[in-house]
């Protein structure tokens, strides 16, 4: 079951919900997010982050990966990634897999 009203943190394992599809648009040669009544055009950094959002990787793991890849300070990347994902979550374009409660 998809989560609602999520607060993105390092421990979150976000993914795109079923109604939001990340896709490369061959005709226009840009990445797009397809959602109900919306077509969003994420920038290159957002696309790279979203491609890591598979519901298994945590935000911490994504940030580690990006910090290593771009040899950039982890703290700065963490702040940017969380802000971007939280914005998408608030708009309903991001969900997270919840741990099953026993």
């Amino acid at each position: 079951m998809a989560g609602r009203n999520i607060s993105v943190s390092e421990a979150s394992r976000p993914k795109l919900p079923r109604h939001a599809k990340l896709k490369f648009d061959e005709t226009r040669q840009v990445w797009v997010i397809l959602a109900p009544e919306r077509v969003l055009a994420p920038d290159e950094i957002a696309v790279e982050v979203l491609q890591l959002c598979d519901g298994e990787r945590s935000v911490a793991e994504m940030v580690d990966h990006l910090a290593a890849k771009y040899a950039a300070p982890r703290e700065a990347i963490l702040t940017d990634v969380i802000a971007m994902l939280q914005d998408l979550a608030d708009k309903g374009f991001l969900t997270e897999v919840r741990e099953k409660t026993p």
Binding site: M1, D25, L34, V39, D90, K91
Partner: protein, 402 residues
């Protein structure tokens, strides 16, 4: 069905939203874009008789509907043209026996699929088959938050109960759900309860869509037009709910343009982002375009490709861009913000689709239609003319058209 593709939403368009960004990158043709989305009206048949139906007053008969194979060919062509999304609508799209097959084909060719439905014909099994076929999103229209008002507006007994059931199945199948609430004078008092209903149904999104007045809704304007007091209250309720439900329920609000100062950017501009295919295969700049007499519309059954029709047909080019505009639009600083508003509304209210939409305060007609709306709302004549193939049936005492 909803008027999703035609409405100006009150929320500001995000800088990351669709065409704006795509056009900044100059990845599209210079004067108009590659269409983003298509509204596929599979049929005009519908078990409901809503007095504000967005279908034309002259409905396409079932015998003229495109076949399964014709729709499949259309969808393949749409992808080649660069269309990203298809909205299956009607009439009632689930009245088509081949809907699952059509959704499957759309998914196979790479289209994002949205089902815009009244939901009263759905079974859980059929919904599951649609989910398996790759359906991305379900949008269910509601006429109220309880059966007395809702069934009367729909002109169908037990419709509200069936909708609630179908909405629950939608979420049980983990399909994303938009509740589309079409609002007017006779149900606006239920808005707070409708918002709560959407939350209780675990909807992702709620469209609070004020009726737009052309076609059937224009015939029923006196019975539907809200009062100014209602509109002010509506805006207050929506704004409060948007803040309170952030991250839980996204709420899109479509303002009634009779009470607006600026007209809506109808269809995002004529022939600019969207088009509609009618049950019989006409390619239309918007779903109400056939109400404009004197325009010829090409069919997918003609010798022309859909791409040719989009780029070259007279109907698409007639009101495309800003070159066609008379004053006051011609020299207006907002001409590329709203593209002169809605052509169908201009035609319905002024007799000329090339006039400024009277919803605009700069239109010489604006004052008159605003007063008319006020007068009609105050007169409080609540009798509906129900939508049907016979040209409409007036509501009689107690039958509720059902």
């Amino acid at each position: 069905m909803s008027d999703i593709l035609t409405e100006g939403k009150t929320e500001a368009v995000a800088p990351t939203d669709g065409l704006t960004v795509l056009e900044q990158r100059r990845s599209t043709a210079t004067s108009y874009g590659i269409p983003l989305a298509v509204l596929a009206e599979l049929t005009h048949r519908c078990p409901l008789q809503c007095p504000y139906c967005s279908n034309p007053v002259e409905l396409d008969r079932s015998g003229s509907e495109l076949t399964t194979e014709e729709w499949k060919k259309v969808m393949t062509e749409l992808v080649e043209l660069g269309v990203l999304q298809i909205h299956f609508s009607g009439g009632e799209p689930t009245a088509r026996k081949d809907l699952v097959e059509l959704v499957q084909h759309a998914n196979d060719v790479g289209l994002y699929t949205n089902l815009i439905t009244s939901a009263v014909l759905l079974t859980k099994e059929r919904l599951a088959a649609l989910a398996d076929a790759g359906l991305c999103h379900v949008q269910i229209s509601f006429q109220g938050n309880e059966p007395v008002v809702a069934d009367r507006v729909a002109g169908l007994k037990n419709s509200h109960e069936k909708k609630i059931q179908a909405a629950r199945w939608t979420r049980e199948l983990d399909l994303p759900l938009t509740v589309n609430a079409v609002m007017h004078r006779q149900n606006l008092h239920q808005l707070s309860d409708i918002i709560q209903m959407a939350v209780d149904l675990d909807a992702d999104r709620l469209e609070v869509a004020n009726v737009q007045y052309y076609g059937w809704a224009l015939k029923n304007r006196a019975a539907l037009m809200p009062t100014i007091a209602q509109i002010e209250e509506t805006s207050r309720i929506v704004e409060e709910a948007q803040a309170r439900l952030k991250g839980v329920l996204a709420i899109d609000y479509v303002v009634p343009d009779y009470y607006a100062l600026r007209p809506k950017k109808c269809m995002g501009g004529w022939g600019r982002q969207f088009f509609n295919i009618s049950p019989a295969g006409k390619v239309l700049p918007c779903h109400a375009a056939e109400s404009i007499t004197g325009l010829e519309f090409e069919s997918v059954r003609s010798n022309h490709s859909i791409a040719w029709i989009w780029q070259n047909s007279e109907a698409f080019n007639r009101y495309r861009g800003t070159g066609w505009m008379p004053e006051p639009c011609k020299s207006c600083e907002f001409r590329e913000v709203d593209y002169g508003g809605c052509r169908c509304q201009a035609f319905a209210l002024t007799g000329d689709a090339g006039n400024t939409d009277p919803a605009c305060t700069l239109s010489p007609m604006h004052e008159r239609i605003f007063k008319l709306a006020e007068t009609e709302a105050a007169a409080n004549n609540n009798r509906f003319l129900y939508r049907n193939f016979a040209g409409g049936t007036l509501e009689t005492e107690g039958d509720h058209g059902a």
